[in-house]
């Protein structure tokens, strides 16, 4: 079983990408457990940089985003794609704030046409990213004596989505696809507690590791209902999702079911507009965690556009923008669901005519939860490279 790995340190992003590509999986390079990283982590989304530039609105029909398997039907050329997406996050609570930097390689994709409208694709993406470090001071009560302590908790890991898909373009109006998913990953935690009185008390260093495994099946379709308007839908049906500690299944839940719907309009030359929504039943994972965490289902909505911009060496640059309102899946028990709004923009830059292109995205996310004093904002930079040999 291939598990998604974590690659600590942004300077190893390229190496991580190469290794992950060779392994056929995506390395998730850290995240953190703040307002957005509660529970099993932050739902990265599995979007290509192009789709991220539209805040996810193009995810249902973007061939590089492993969401709707129908989107690869009729693919004319082989495409290899890799991307990085660092996030600069600021958490504020009760007048205090802290900044963190997260590095991610959220998606690797290979899609190959198979003739007669068929195409297959292999993709590795991040489902949930859970990496953080907390350093706190406190005290421990040792048999009635209070001793000052410093606690450090390092959590690293992610759950990834390995998808193999096949899509078929039946005709100019209809595309369908089916895909199988393997959700796998691990979390590794290291906890260190040191006492102020180091002569009498020794520090505590403890570690714990959990692995995850689950499967899912997804289907999708695309129907051009009008000459310039198409409808897209996909559904992922999750199976059992196990969390294991030392090869023993500790809890079982389900891979979250997902329903996605989108409308695409191409009626204006050189431009594409899309709106969409998705519902993800994250509560299927609720039984996998402890009673300290509550899983919520999420309803997310998107809107985005891509238009032809200025030409670069004779090839047009694509300019994108989008907006999304998302709900995050995990919160503390008794806490309200975290909501996120995203504004995004992006560019699609040709590099070698039709042979390669670079996509850039910039997203601004704001996250909050009712009743929570904490709020979070983040900048997400995406850079993706597509090669079409």
């Amino acid at each position: 079983m291939t598990s998604l790995s974590t690659f600590p340190g942004s300077r190893r992003v390229v190496a991580a990408a190469c290794v992950a590509l060779l392994l056929g999986t995506a390395g998730v390079v850290q995240a953190q457990g703040t307002l957005s990283g509660l529970g099993f982590g932050y739902p990265v989304g599995g979007l290509s940089t192009r789709a991220a530039g539209t805040a996810g609105a193009f995810g249902e029909f973007d061939a590089l985003s492993p969401i709707n398997p129908a989107s690869i039907g009729g693919l004319p050329r082989t495409v290899l794609s890799a991307q990085a997406e660092p996030e600069y996050r600021r958490l504020s609570i009760n007048g205090r704030s802290e900044r963190t930097t997260v590095q991610r390689i959220p998606l690797l994709t290979v899609a190959v046409p198979a003739g007669k409208g068929l195409a297959v694709s292999l993709a590795a993406s991040s489902l949930l990213d859970r990496s953080f470090t907390t350093i706190t001071t406190g005290s421990a009560n040792l048999n009635g004596v209070t001793v000052p302590t410093t606690d450090r908790l390092d959590m690293r890991g992610a759950i990834g989505d390995l998808r193999a898909a096949i899509g078929w373009q039946a005709n100019s109006r209809l595309r369908v696809g089916v895909a199988g998913h393997v959700m796998t990953g691990e979390h590794v935690g290291a906890r260190e507690r040191t006492f102020a009185d180091t002569l009498r008390f020794g520090g505590v260093i403890d570690s714990s590791r959990a692995t995850y495994f689950g499967t899912a099946l997804s289907v999708g379709g695309e129907l051009r209902v009008l000459p310039n308007l198409s409808a897209h839908a996909s559904y992922r049906m999750g199976n059992d999702f196990d969390s294991r500690i030392r090869d023993t299944v500790r809890a079982t839940g389900g891979v979250p079911n997902r329903l996605g719907l989108a409308l695409r309009y191409d009626g204006i030359a050189g431009s594409t507009f899309a709106v969409g929504m998705e519902q993800v039943s994250w509560s299927d994972m609720g039984s996998m965690g402890s009673e300290r965490v509550k899983a919520y289902d999420a309803q997310n909505v998107f809107a985005g556009a891509e238009v032809v911009g200025p030409r670069l060496r004779g090839v047009p640059v694509l300019v994108r923008a989008g907006y999304a309102r998302n709900q995050l899946p995990f919160a503390t028990t008794g806490g309200a669901q975290v909501r996120e709004t995203r504004w995004s923009t992006g560019l699609g830059l040709p590099v070698a005519r039709e042979a390669a292109s670079i996509d850039l995205s910039l997203q601004r996310a704001s996250r909050s939860a009712s009743g929570q004093a904490a709020s979070e904002s983040a900048w997400l930079f995406g850079i993706g490279l597509q090669i079409r040999p």
Partner: protein, 430 residues
């Protein structure tokens, strides 16, 4: 310049903007990751706070005191004492091979020594061990005999007036870092002439006092015998270190009989229900524990104390603090001889187990920090007993002992272990 080659912002704008965007994104992607946080804790850091557990229990399954330390003649210092109410010791120095020839000046040839002059026994002293402010006499005796002188009673019988070969009156607390004790010339001349051994017994008499002699330095006996090979002063003195010759024996035995002590009056030793560390001759105490694996292997120990109940000792320097030095036995249970186990034990300092300072005349509960030791138990094979031993500082060179109640004592007085630990938890699941 042609129109085509002239720089044009309109022409280069798009490539420059694209290049800048790419470089900016690459730079952002290459930034150093920083995940350190915690400002939102505890409200956003739900974690399973496992409480520390604290337990005090009778963990000792074997405790005993072993006598006879340090091994005969292998102490780096040697206590010469005449404290009739506490401790009386004697010392023996062996010079079995004497220099019997010398080189007369200018001849280049060897000549036999027929007469000697300025004969001294030189004793280097550890001045921290001096005791006694009244004059005492340090006497030397010829303790060479053809009888079995490995028997202490035989050697003791030779400390008599007809064998006295020298003496020095001194005040112990007023001595320097060495003593020169004159020896009768005729005695040494006789030994040289007869090619016999020179074995010297030392004792303090005529008052209460104590000296601590440096017995060995750099692996060799430190006391020396000095004498001039002629009566004139033109010859450098011959200086001999201690040495002995015993046929069919080991180097250790030879070393141990070069300089050694005899105890005339010492500590009372082990009494029922007690453990003794130190004394004269000194004892070491060994304690073996049975600690549940759920503590050693499935938890992190954050505090470990050996609770010993000290009982008052009146022996020797009872009011001076002494060092209780831990030893860490590391042998497997295939070695059942505890003396051998202690011979092979490591100094506690190597396992970061601290030395404690205690006063022998005190009593009450003593908490000895054995945290570093307890944390090593998890890494040891199961056939290595979890144990600790103790010796006293300046073992065999100071009249002091520490007494503790053993596991045979009443329940509340027995050695116990107090361990505070945190059970391992699978905290990784959110």
């Amino acid at each position: 310049m042609s129109e085509q080659s002239r720089w044009s912002w309109a022409r280069w704008r798009a490539p420059l903007v694209a290049t800048a965007a790419i470089l900016l994104s690459v730079a952002a992607a290459a930034c150093t990751e920083n995940l350190d946080g915690g400002v939102a804790c505890p409200s956003l850091c739900p974690s399973q706070d496992e409480p520390f557990r604290d337990t005090t229990f009778d963990a000792v399954v074997l405790d005993t005191s072993l006598a006879g330390y340090p091994t005969l003649g292998l102490s780096s210092t040697l206590l010469l004492a005449n404290r009739p109410d506490t401790l009386v010791t004697r010392a023996v120095l062996r010079f079995d091979q004497l220099a019997t020839s010398y080189q007369p000046n200018g001849t280049g040839a060897l000549d036999s020594i027929t007469t000697v002059d300025s004969v001294y026994i030189v004793l280097p002293l550890d001045t921290t061990g001096r005791r006694g402010s009244t004059p005492v006499t340090l006497e030397l005796f010829d303790v060479d005999t053809t009888a079995s002188d490995s028997v202490a009673s035989v050697v003791r019988s030779l400390f008599r007036s007809d064998r006295r070969i020298g003496s020095l009156t001194l005040t112990p607390t007023a001595t320097g870092d060495s003593l020169r004790i004159p020896v009768a010339r005729a005695v040494l001349e006789g030994k040289i002439a007869s090619r016999s051994r020179f074995r010297v017994g030392l004792q303090i008499s005529g008052g209460s006092g104590q000296l601590r002699v440096r017995a060995f330095q750099l692996g060799a006996g430190a006391p020396t015998l000095r004498y001039d090979p002629r009566t004139d002063t033109l010859y450098r003195p011959i200086i001999l270190g201690t040495n002995t010759s015993i046929s069919n024996t080991t180097t250790d035995v030879l070393l141990s009989y070069q300089v050694y002590a005899l105890t005339e009056l010492g500590s009372v030793g082990v009494t029922a229900g007690t453990l003794v560390v130190g004394g004269y001759p000194a004892h070491r105490s060994y304690l073996r524990f049975n600690v549940p694996l759920r503590i050693t292997d499935s938890s992190t120990i954050v505090r470990a104390e050996l609770l010993l109940t000290q009982t008052r000792s009146r022996f020797g320097n009872a009011n001076d603090s002494v060092a209780l030095i831990p030893l860490v036995p590391t042998t497997t249970d295939s070695i059942s001889n505890l003396r051998r186990v202690l011979d092979l034990a490591a100094e506690g300092a190597f396992a970061s187990v601290d030395t404690a300072a205690l006063v022998p005349s005190d009593s009450g509960l003593r908490r000895l920090n054995v945290l570093a030791l307890a944390r090593t138990w998890r890494t040891l094979p199961l056939n290595v007993p979890r144990a600790v031993a103790f010796r006293i500082g300046l073992e065999g060179a100071q009249p002091a002992e520490l007494r503790f109640f053993s596991s045979e004592a009443a329940a509340g007085l027995r050695p116990r272990l107090r361990i505070t630990y945190l059970p391992r938890a699978d905290f990784v699941l959110p």
